[in-house]
């Protein structure tokens, strides 16, 4: 047994040495400065496929639809962008989307933090398991089915309104409006946010907190001055993810909005599919991607890159 193990270990080391030699032959030390870029290459290439797609979109967006052939005209024009600027509805839908993205991301991060915190800090293994399972299960119920569940709960003849009726109270309009879309999105985004915040909380040593409380700070100021600043990378990461996912979401407004609270992704969908106007859809997409990227870049410059970035204090 033991001999075997030694041989195996030796083999392991030999193998490792071999890999080491191979790598150094393929990758001489003088290239060391570019290791980061090389590690990044596969991801950059994969996402490059989306960039190729954006290339198509840019091209389409500069051609007008010819209604007699339903193809884009050959000549270049700015018609699609002019149409978007000309129709106030696009501005309103865009504003509605941006506002929702802001509300949803702030609320979700606020709600997710205590959950992530308790998940890390609880001493009971049972509580932890319970919290983890409650976190993971909703992932497996698609947005559509979840929305149907909400209809049963929040509908005009749903569980809550039957309850109100039983108490002799007037029925409420709880679904198919803007607030219900926001609510649905928060519910959908919550697990993502929690998962992104957990590692940040886990990285905070509990001793630091105890020290702060030991020095007489109450928990609110410990949170404000110690825990939240240390968890900042996770909070920013969660914020950015929820913000961008909400900004481009299509399903939730479609099914909980009752058809009259479209987000910009719905307008893009309609242009491509209802109107068969790829040029207009492409122009709307370009505008949305630009806005999203600029906002993300601004957050990264102002607040650091969150989970993605380097821990500033360690350098």
């Amino acid at each position: 047994m033991q001999r075997n193990q030694i041989i195996r270990t030796r083999l392991g080391w030999k193998l490792l040495d071999g890999i080491e030699r191979l790598v150094s032959a393929l990758w001489p030390a003088r290239f060391k400065g570019s290791v980061g870029r090389v590690l990044l290459l596969p991801a950059v290439l994969l996402i490059g496929i989306l960039v190729i797609g954006l290339g198509y979109m840019i091209e389409y967006s500069f051609h007008e639809l010819d209604l007699s052939t339903y193809r884009l005209k050959d000549e270049y024009s700015l018609v699609n962008y002019a149409v978007i600027a000309d129709r106030p509805v696009y501005m309103r839908v865009l504003n509605r989307t941006l506002l929702a993205a802001l509300i949803v991301s702030v609320t979700t991060v606020f709600l997710a933090f205590p959950y992530a915190y308790m998940l890390v800090r609880t001493r009971s293994a049972l509580t932890r398991k319970f919290l983890l399972i409650a976190l993971f299960l909703p992932f497996f119920i698609g947005q559509v089915v979840r929305a149907y569940g909400w209809l049963i709960i929040l509908g005009k003849q749903g569980l809550i309104n039957s309850l109100l009726e039983g108490l002799g109270l007037p029925a409420l309009n709880l679904i198919y409006n803007y607030p219900s879309v926001i609510f649905g999105l928060i519910q959908y985004m919550l697990p993502f946010a929690i998962l992104l915040i957990v590692p940040a909380v886990a990285a905070i040593s509990e001793d630091v907190e105890l020290a702060s409380e030991g020095l007489g700070a109450n928990w609110i100021s410990t949170f404000r001055h110690i825990v939240l600043p240390l968890a900042r990378p996770g909070l920013i990461g969660a914020f950015v993810v929820v913000f961008t996912l909400t900004l481009t979401d299509f399903a939730m407004p479609e099914i909980l909005g009752g058809g009259t609270t479209d987000f910009i992704a719905s307008a893009i969908y309609d242009s491509f599919f209802q109107l068969s106007n790829a040029g207009l859809g492409a122009a709307l997409s370009m505008i949305l991607v630009m806005i999203g990227s600029v906002i993300v870049a601004a957050i990264f410059y102002l607040a650091g890159t969150g989970t993605l970035g380097v821990r500033e204090q360690s350098r």
Partner: protein, 266 residues
């Protein structure tokens, strides 16, 4: 201690609010799937397994389920090396245009899925790989890749760079340092990320819609198409099957590596 009690009350009331909003639709859907009636309702009308039976007897259900597993596994397998390397690169190495690259890496989230779906359909059609299943897995990996990168970089962040430096200083060659110090340290992130990638691929319908046809259709696409005309309780039954798969996965993970792996940072 009064402070500790108020902390507990505040945090736990928020947590309970979360748990209820997260679980309520799930409970409703599980209940509704056992209805004997024709429509999704809660409380269900009677009890029966008829909708499960109907589901299982559908010609296309089992192959579609298998294909869904297949594309989800491809998606996860691609994302593990690609995402892990990218995460290590963004956290550990300095290069020019760092922030621009971060914005670039987030493109899968800033491009609406409809647009990603259409443009990948056109590109894959152009290079004649549309119609195979593996490009679907790759596409699902692309649109969710930021989740993998972010999960792993959270772990890389938590890893003290001094540990790696120590390995180097003790004479460990770079690959060895990577395999023996860096990789084990980022494992929690890799597992969280893989789990997410798998789950998301398993549920994705919008991009898959454009990359599959009726011979290669996956389960979420089939569900999406079928609810466009009529919604019946078999939809709830599918969800329950998903939940069962999820529970098995969570249980397996707990037995194999322990659920705490999500929380370990060092």
């Amino acid at each position: 201690m009064r402070g500790a009690r108020s902390k507990k009350i505040v945090l736990w009331s928020i947590i309970w609010f979360n748990i209820i909003t997260l679980s309520l639709p799930t409970v409703i859907v599980i209940g509704a799937s056992f209805t004997a009636g024709e429509i999704i309702q809660f409380p269900p009308e009677g009890f029966s397994l008829r909708w499960y039976q109907k589901l299982w007897q559908l010609d296309d259900f089992q192959p579609a389920l298998m294909r869904t597993f297949y594309v989800s596994i491809i998606c996860t397998l691609i994302s593990i090396p690609v995402g892990t390397l990218a995460a290590i690169a963004t956290v550990r190495y300095r290069f020019r245009f760092q922030k621009s690259i971060q914005v670039y890496l987030l493109l899968p989230f800033t491009i609406p899925l409809v647009v990603s779906g259409i443009s990948m359909m056109i590109f894959f059609g152009e290079i004649r790989i549309l119609g195979s299943l593996w490009p679907v897995g790759m596409a699902l990996c692309i649109i969710n890749l930021p989740f993998m990168i972010w999960s792993v970089s959270a772990s890389v962040n938590a890893l003290d760079p001094e540990l790696e430096n120590a390995a180097y200083n003790c004479g460990a060659p770079p690959v060895q340092a990577f395999l023996t110090v860096t990789l084990p340290a980022v494992m929690p992130g890799v597992i969280t990320g893989s789990m997410l990638m798998f789950i998301l691929a398993f549920n994705e319908f919008l991009v898959s819609l454009f990359l599959t046809d009726s011979r290669t259709v996956t389960l979420p696409v089939q569900i999406y198409n079928s609810i466009r005309s009529i919604i019946t309780p078999d939809l709830a039954a599918v969800s329950v099957i998903y939940i069962v798969i999820a529970l098995i996965a969570v249980w397996l993970l707990d037995r194999l590596v322990g659920l705490e792996i999500f929380l370990r940072s060092k």
